[in-house]
């Protein structure tokens, strides 16, 4: 009846996961009870769960990513503290538990923290910057989000019911095959990542179509903001490589569930093929994360330097260059597997070449600041910290791209330090910069500058104190994923790294305090103009927060930096552009199909993990039924009446007019 599921799946003998999950269950039940008591369900259902508004979906993505970032950070704290105390000792985590923690840390951070946060920003910002009212497929967008949430849910269920994979964040066979990992851990990994991966693939399709086919009049390719270009590059990569992930995980699933021989080490299976395929996805995945991050930095550098982006066209070229070349470098993740000199050399060269494209971008950002009137706001601090951190991370990467050097530090702590250096320094810094930059657009008030700066400095120094020792340890020969350590000389560096984690924790607390303080002081920090940073792209032409239809009339773009032109013209002529003729706006209706799909994806995924075949069948049939019902609906759009459109736009114009007036007064007095 219940497949492999029984009471022994609950980890009664392991206090850490048991207590953690009990606390989590109490918290979740408490939140649900609060929502029920306050009667918030209709609001949540109407405004958030069934929404197809790209801004709301983007915010939900970011919320999901932030929660999972904390979960992944907790895993990181456990790993660093375990290694610090387990020198010639056994530490407080048993090997099988430690293995689950490092696997969960990587899986969660890449798939369920970084990806949702990056996609959240893509969702929120891209249609606003392109001057349109939504993405190409709004309902599909909601399905994407809910499938990602399903994956995250399954990973967290593994904490309480069963176990998680002990095979690392990429489940290398033959260890991950049924013969060597008979438990449900790898199955949790497979279904969680597979389901969320399908969601990500649909996001990629959605955004390629959005950028290519949904732009406001006059927004030609070479007038798109840099962030849109990077979103396009990233989405193209998603479309190109996420099917590889789907295929590879499907093959491993077939091996595990039906005894097939794709990656087994018996009967002609080929475990090396898994490394080959998974990294053909895995390396572009890094660029899927980092390209939008580059886009965020481009926006911040240009805005906070008060200048157009230096070398816009070379930036576009570099983005597309990275997009293509990133699909030709994957072998550098397994130089040591034995492909021989010819193959290793070719991939070593292609890996070094991709650094050229990134180098172009770094110089462009530096020259954007040059000659500008740089404002050292919080987003700018993260961006400048990024340049410093990322350049060093990139240079260690170029070092690793040289096969003979890679042979020495392969799978060592040097590698661990390198990829944290580029992903934290590149992606995470960008996300915090973007958080501070676009938060006022999303919620209508700015974040507190002081706490933001504190968070930056603690995170910046915390990062370096944590990871510099790991570089040194790697060069001294410490391999990654050690549950205990038998080399006394490494104690100092491991302790130092733990201290760095402590500084990072302070930085994380500063972020939380920043959010709380900003919410409490939201009236002081209110953004009345819709343009808090003197922005240059179209999203700042809308009020903060924007109405659900974004633009009362679609803007007409006449040059690069669309909003900057509009703003300057208004300031020079001392008046806003003439009031347009408003028309009713057609918007997509809300749809529960995303939530419905996710519900049955969760049921199906969970029952497949535990081999509850009948329930899996029920889930699949229900999903198909939902597909048919969805195809049958008659109403796809509704019209926003002219009066509502006009009312929203009049408020926006009044705010802009007030700014113009204050500028004129300022001019007169100065």
């Amino acid at each position: 009846m219940f497949g492999k599921l029984s009471w022994s799946a609950i980890p009664f003998d392991q206090p850490i996961p048991l207590i953690t999950s009990l606390v989590l269950i109490v918290v979740i039940l408490g939140v649900l009870a609060l929502v029920t008591l306050k009667g918030w369900w209709p609001y949540l259902w109407r405004e958030w769960i069934t929404t197809v508004d790209h801004k709301r979906i983007g915010i939900m993505y970011c919320l999901l990513g932030a929660v999972m970032l904390i979960r992944g950070f907790a895993d990181a704290i456990m790993m660093r503290s375990q290694q610090a105390v387990a020198i010639n000792a056994s530490g407080y985590l048993k090997p099988e538990h430690y293995d689950q923690i490092f696997s969960a840390h990587g899986t969660i951070m890449i798939f369920f923290a970084a990806m949702p946060l990056v996609i959240g920003f893509m969702n929120f910002v891209t249609p606003l910057q392109l001057g349109v009212r939504d993405v190409a497929f709004p309902t599909l967008n909601s399905v994407s989000f809910w499938l990602t949430a399903t994956g995250a849910l399954l990973v967290n269920v593994s904490l309480f019911v069963g176990e998680f994979a002990r095979t690392g964040w990429l489940p290398y066979p033959p260890l991950s095959e049924a013969a060597y990992s008979p438990g449900v851990g790898v199955d949790y990994y497979l279904w969680a990542v597979q389901i969320s991966g399908i969601g990500t693939l649909m996001t990629g399709i959605n955004f390629v179509t959005t950028v290519l086919k949904m732009r406001c009049p006059g927004m030609s390719y070479m007038r798109m903001p840099m962030f849109c270009w990077t979103v396009f590059g990233s989405s193209l990569l998603i479309v190109a490589v996420f099917p590889i992930l789907t295929a590879t995980l499907a093959m491993l699933t077939l091996d595990r569930y039906f005894g097939w021989h794709y990656f087994t080490n018996t009967a002609g299976g080929n475990p090396m093929m898994f490394m080959n395929l998974i990294w053909a996805w895995g390396h572009p995945e890094v660029y899927i994360l980092v390209l939008p991050a580059f886009g965020i930095f481009s926006e911040v550098f240009s805005t906070f330097s008060g200048k157009p982006l230096f070398g816009y066209r070379s930036m576009v070229a570099a983005t597309l260059f990275i997009c293509v070349v990133s699909m030709m470098t994957w072998l550098h993740h397994f130089f040591t597997m034995g492909s021989g000199a010819a193959v290793n050399t070719a991939f070593g060269i292609s890996t070094s070449i991709i650094a050229v494209g990134t180098g172009v971008k770094i110089y462009n950002w530096i020259f954007t600041m040059y000659g500008g009137r740089v404002r050292f706001g919080v987003p700018m601090l993260w961006s400048m910290g990024f340049i410093f951190t990322f350049v060093i991370g990139g240079m260690t990467g170029v070092l690793l791209a040289v096969p003979p050097a890679d042979f020495l530090v392969h799978n060592s702590m040097f590698l661990v330090a390198h990829f944290h250096n580029v992903i934290v320094g590149g992606v995470v810094f960008a996300l915090f910069a973007g958080l501070h930059y676009w938060f006022p657009k999303a919620f209508g008030f700015r974040l507190h500058e002081g706490w933001g700066k504190a968070a930056f400095w603690f995170a910046f120094f915390g990062f370096w104190i944590t990871f510099t020792p790991l570089y040194i340890l790697g060069l001294e020969g410490m391999t990654r994923r050690l549950q205990h350590i038998n080399v006394e000389q490494w104690r100092f560096m491991l302790d130092l790294s733990l201290i760095g984690v402590g500084v990072l924790i302070v930085g994380a607390i500063c972020q939380v305090v920043m959010l709380v303080v900003s919410i409490l002081k939201r009236d002081e920090l209110r953004d009345t103009t819709g343009d808090p940073w003197d922005g240059r792209s179209l999203e700042w032409a809308t009020p903060s927060p924007p109405p659900f239809f974004n633009y009362a009339v679609m803007p007409n773009v006449e040059g690069e930096e669309a909003y900057w032109d509009i703003k300057l013209r208004a300031i020079e002529t001392q008046q806003l552009s003439p009031e347009p003729a408003y028309e009713p706006i057609e918007m997509p209706v809300n749809s529960p199909v995303g939530f419905y799909t996710a519900f049955f994806a969760t049921v199906t995924g969970f029952s497949l993990i535990w081999h509850i075949w009948w329930l899996a069948a029920v889930g699949l049939v229900s999903a198909f039924a939902g597909f048919v019902v969805f195809a049958w609906r008659d109403v796809h759009e509704f019209h926003v009446p002219v009066e509502e459109v006009a009312r929203a736009d009049h408020a926006r114009r009044a705010a802009r007019a007030a700014v113009l007036e204050s500028l004129a007064n300022q001019d007169a007095t100065s």
Partner: protein, 231 residues
């Protein structure tokens, strides 16, 4: 706070407009109306184009997924672990019949869309039905093939080669099956709702999908069956 306090004065804005280092930019507002109509530069494209293009992108991703299974088949082609090889599997007459069925179904699928363009419900339905029946014939022939192989002890559990064979061919068969389910819902929609805008969009997508499956089958019958029979 002062450094991000806004707005800056008009004077500053004017000064900064004259960016002396405008490398890699065109001038502001200097170029005339945008050329390149039809690529979104003149505003969002029509829904028909957006839907068709999005599905086109999905098809590309689906083809990439197939390419992984092709790669696995190519890599594991000789990993027979002492079991049967490709020459022991191929039955040319059945493959020819399967190919014929799928090719004809592509043809009738194209005809059904011609009827859709003429807003002719009857012929649209007739050709969709023929397409579906040919697809069903294909799936049944493939099932018969797999059952026959299994009866001879040739199953994917036997060797890496057989795994990659059944994986590749089976994945295509699964796609055709799912496309058949989709076809049934499309026929029901055309019958009950007529040629509404979104239903025509879905018919465009269905056409693309069905033809793409035929293109994948060209790869399969060439690389798996024909090349296998001469290897």
């Amino acid at each position: 706070m002062s450094d991000s306090a806004l707005p800056a004065s008009v004077e500053t804005l004017r000064r900064l407009r004259e960016d002396p280092h405008r490398v890699g930019h065109r001038g502001h507002g200097q170029d005339g109306p945008v050329q390149g109509a039809g690529h979104g530069a003149t505003g969002p494209a029509r829904k028909r184009i957006i839907v068709g293009y999005g599905f086109w992108i999905f098809l590309l991703s689906d083809i990439v997924m197939f390419s992984c299974f092709f790669a696995a088949f190519a890599v594991q082609g000789n990993a027979t672990a002492g079991g049967p090889g490709i020459r022991d599997l191929v039955e040319m007459p059945r493959v020819a019949l399967e190919t014929g069925a799928l090719l004809l179904s592509s043809y009738t699928c194209g005809l059904s869309f011609a009827a859709t363009n003429a807003r002719n419900k009857l012929w649209t339905q007739v050709f969709l039905l023929i397409t579906g029946l040919l697809g069903l014939a294909f799936v049944l022939m493939e099932a018969q093939e797999f059952i026959g192989l299994a009866a001879r002890g040739i199953t994917p559990e036997r060797s890496g080669f057989l795994t990659s064979f059944f994986g590749l061919v089976g994945l295509h068969g699964l796609h055709v099956t799912l496309a058949g389910l989709w076809l049934l819902t499309m026929m029901a929609q055309v019958q009950l709702k007529g040629f509404r805008r979104e239903i025509i969009h879905r018919l465009i997508c269905f056409n693309l999908f069905w033809h793409a499956l035929d293109i994948v089958w060209i790869g399969i019958f060439t690389i798996v069956y024909l090349m296998g029979s001469v290897s």
